[in-house]
């Protein structure tokens, strides 16, 4: 892994491709960020769960995801989403007996609201034992 940061923007217009594509891209980004294997796995699962839930809120069927990777940390931003949808995405990732997967697996999540009325869901996964920011 180098010290360089990595950014990427992904658009998925076919929901049935979301899990396959997102899991692989997130895994590559997490590996480049030197996340340990358990955190890499958390990043994959949380991102895929959030993206699949988010795709149900997209009127035009296009899911937009932005990624940032830096040593020890990965950030995944999903959106724009309709107003109010970001928190619903977190809630809809719930699995019986486990709770909201997104909330359980990521280190931080936040909703960024824009003046235009839409919003995005931001997920941060860091290396808890390492030098993550």
């Amino acid at each position: 892994m180098t010290s360089a940061s990595t950014s990427a923007r992904l658009v998925i217009r076919r929901p049935d491709l979301t899990a396959n594509v997102l899991e692989r891209v997130v895994a590559a980004l997490a590996a480049r960020a030197d996340l340990p294997l358990d955190r890499l796995s958390d990043a994959q699962i949380a991102s895929a769960a959030a993206a699949v839930a988010a795709s149900r809120h997209m009127a035009d069927g296009a899911l937009n995801v932005e990624f940032d990777g830096e040593p020890g940390a990965v950030t995944v931003r999903i959106g724009p989403l309709p107003a109010g949808a970001a928190e619903q995405v977190v809630e809809e990732s719930a699995v019986p007996g486990v709770g909201a997967i997104v909330e359980r697996l990521v280190d931080r999540w936040s909703v960024d609201r824009r003046a235009t009325g839409d919003e995005s869901l931001s997920l941060a996964i860091v290396d808890r034992d390492g030098a993550g920011p």
């Binding site: 180098t2 360089a4 990595t6 950014s7 990427a8 923007r9 992904l10 658009v11 998925i12 217009r13 076919r14 049935d16 491709l17 396959n20 594509v21 997102l22 899991e23 692989r24 891209v25 895994a27 590559a28 980004l29 480049r32 296009a62």
Partner: protein
Amino acid sequence: MAATLAPRGGERGVNEPAAHVELTLPADAESVVLARQMVRGLVDFLGWGDESRNDISIAVTEACTNAVLHAYPDGGGEYTVRAWVEPDRLVVAVCDEGRGITPRVESPAAGLGLGLPLMLAIGDEVSFSSDSEGVTQVRITFTEGGGGG
């Protein structure tokens, strides 16, 4: 395998459907792994075998590496990998807004010159184009076991 070199403005149809998946990356060497993994995810979705997956990964890596090495000689810039998935074929286009298709010039940064032969050997159809808006595109059509797969 068929290869074409389209003139400026001659390749992209105005009615072309939007790509099913689109990944935009900075034009640096370390980004290529993300493009490769995106395409491997699509091959997994199609259920094609390991040989196809490996061959397609090589061809897409070469197309992306071309964009990284040659599109922006002054650094910076981005490239986009677009993909269309159909039951029996996968179309991948690597697009940049760099300096366009230029003749190969021997230099240490030019590599071994194997990228184009590999893309032609692995893809079923390969085309190269630059349009009037300055977008250069390498477009490769794959089928399972087709081309070199």
